[in-house]
């Protein structure tokens, strides 16, 4: 697997590291090519999956004892309600994971964040404005599964960009450097 081949479409780790995907974002300019799209590493999503299993177990046990006080019709409602609550929790987390993306194009880097159900944040910086890139990958899971946080510091008043828990952080930096050099050579 050639991760550095940025001219060939590839998808890795449940579409968390996609090179040249069929992807379009709202603020994409004409002629701007999406080179890389990254999401949180799948292993970082394990917590809400565990939480949902625990939550479902607790609710079903509570329903079992509570249903002794209710008639069958009411008891059915408590079971259905429990499954719907857990389903809503799982679905919300899937949405947040799927739509929280880091995008690297041939012109800029973009970070799209959705927190909860009502907060949206889009941060972007042009490639030539990038000054420093920091990778933070500490801990057993980060080392074993090869993921980490990337902080992209920009010049001037442009906002800094952060990609959280993304796979192959080193490769992402190499791709950004490669694109920055290409852009400088073209100018």
């Amino acid at each position: 697997m050639k991760l550095m081949d940025i001219n060939k479409t590839s998808h890795n780790f449940l579409h968390t590291f996609c090179i040249r995907p069929a992807f379009h974002f709202q603020t994409q300019a004409d002629g701007e090519e999406v080179i890389l799209v990254v999401r949180g590493h799948p292993i970082t999503q394990i917590w809400w999956l565990i939480n949902s299993v625990i939550l479902l177990t607790v609710l079903l046990v509570a329903d079992y004892f509570f249903s002794m006080l209710l008639n069958p019709f009411q008891s059915l409602f408590t079971y259905i309600f429990s499954f719907i609550m857990v389903g809503a929790y799982v679905w919300l987390n899937i949405l947040i994971w799927f739509f929280n993306v880091g995008i690297i194009t041939n012109k800029r880097v973009v970070d799209i964040d959705f927190q909860g159900v009502i907060y949206k944040e889009i941060t972007e910086a042009r490639l030539e404005r990038i000054q420093d890139i920091t990778v933070k990958a500490g801990g057993f899971a980060e080392s074993f599964f090869n993921f980490g946080n990337i902080f992209i510091q920009t010049a001037g008043t442009e906002a800094n960009i952060e990609y959280g828990d993304v796979p192959y952080p080193d490769t992402i930096i190499k791709i950004i450097h490669q694109l920055t050099e290409q852009k400088q050579n073209n100018q």
Partner: protein, 84 residues
């Protein structure tokens, strides 16, 4: 039913159960609409084209629509419980 009977035994539990069933069903109904609006915004911001298997945007919007339908059914169910 006199007042001491209401506060002792399952009558109070059933009363609160019905009240919370309606309240939480309505809250879930509102929540599902908020999620629907947000998913529309998300799908406009980030558009994943045909991945070769399914159009993921359509799948996500379909599931979100299904969530609204479930919330309506749950609300009707909770109203039926009040009168049961």
């Amino acid at each position: 039913m006199n007042i001491p009977d209401f506060f002792n035994g399952p009558i109070l539990v059933i009363f609160f159960f019905k009240a919370f069933a309606c309240l939480f069903s309505f809250m879930y109904f509102v929540y599902s609409f908020v999620v629907y609006r947000q998913v529309k915004t998300m799908a406009t911001t980030v558009q994943v084209k045909d991945s070769g298997i399914v159009k993921r945007e359509n799948l996500i919007i379909t599931i979100t629509n299904l969530q609204i339908l479930i919330s309506i059914l749950l609300l009707i169910f909770s109203i039926l419980i009040v009168f049961s």
